[in-house]
Symmetry: C2
Subunit: 188 residues, 2 copies
DNA sequence: TATCCCATGTAACGAGTTACATGATTCT
DNA sequence: AGAATCATGTAACTCGTTACATGGGATA
């Protein structure tokens, strides 16, 4: 097998279609109107991605020839598609993602509804927190090696990054608390 | 002319070479060791990018045949290269960048040293602040339209974004204060 | 002797962007 | 009547990623 993994966009599409079957144009409108995950709404990215998913057998297209001038292709995930989505949602946050693919981390989180149990989501966030903390230590170590603050702008840029990660940890803590509250989960 | 703009990576290279002439391998080591701007350190991205810059006449390569086994190609920016860098550094932050290219914003800031006056950097940050505020208003508007908090994870994800932008504003304010302090610039 | 690091590159591939194309329907 | 919107797609292009190639010097 050794199947190549899907792109972030493909997983996003899979997650959306799991929420509700829709056409490529529906996806386009969603991406154009939603500020959440910032994917491009260009047809040149969406339609080919849907096609790829269909070729892999992860989604099926139902032709809606009812009222429309052009037949709308309404996509739904297949069993294999749902399985792939779930497998992806179960992946814990990696250091790599913390550094350069923060979008994927939040995408998995926001698509977890209905696929992961509250306990699993909390475990996911706990892993996320750990990776952020680990990376922040590394950043601090690097900054210590920097020594003088001769180049102010560079130092401030580093501080910018550090603060962003700090804020992430605060958010994680609050998010975990809210999820626990909603589902009446207690520590220990 | 209608020259196509450079990629973020190419501007980063130009900015680094303006700080100090170096070879592709030096860049590789820098990218591999520095957590700052997270570019890939793979040779497949760096060497072709340097080549493109050379073809455009923005950098020149000096062959260092002194002691090395293989001749090192040490790159330096040309006059045209420095001009292109400066033009880029003078670009103010756009809404587009705030949404999906935050890295470029900070890259320009951290490379401004020696190219922009403190006043210009402060103006840059002020523009940055304005765009973030504007975008945050849009986010708030969108969230109000969301209404119920039935889908907790989606709501929390949105909150994550909002907080990140809030933190950015706080950082901008602190950064501006520090720069003003250092250069003894007073308001009004 | 063998393996790692220096230092350069190339080749294949994939995915996203931009721009274009089509044609019906609804708004002005 | 003309413009914008719905709804689909394709083609060219560019850039970055991965993997491979080379070959000398240093290290074990």
């Amino acid at each position: 097998m050794t199947e190549t993994p899907l792109t972030t966009l493909e997983y996003a599409l899979l997650g959306l279609l799991a929420l509700a079957s829709m056409s490529g144009y529906d996806v386009h409108r969603l991406f154009a109107s939603t500020p959440l995950a910032h994917f491009s709404s260009s047809p040149g990215s969406i339609y080919p991605a849907l096609k790829r998913l269909a070729q892999r057998g992860l989604v099926t297209a139902a032709l809606d020839t009812s009222t429309e001038a052009r037949p709308r292709r309404v996509y739904s995930p297949t069993e294999a598609g749902l399985a792939a989505l779930k497998a992806w949602l179960h992946q814990s946050v990696t250091r790599e993602e913390v550094m350069r693919n923060q979008g994927a981390i939040m995408l998995r989180f926001s698509l977890a509804e209905g696929h992961l149990s509250p306990q699993e989501v909390i475990a996911y966030l706990a892993g996320y927190r750990q990776e952020v903390m680990r990376y922040m230590e590394e950043l601090a170590h690097y900054r210590d090696g920097m020594g003088d603050v001769s180049r102010l702008y560079e130092w401030l840029a580093l501080e910018h990054g550090r603060r962003a990660y700090e804020e992430q940890v605060r958010w994680i803590d609050d998010a975990m608390a809210q999820i626990k509250l909603k589902h009446r989960i207690h520590d220990e």
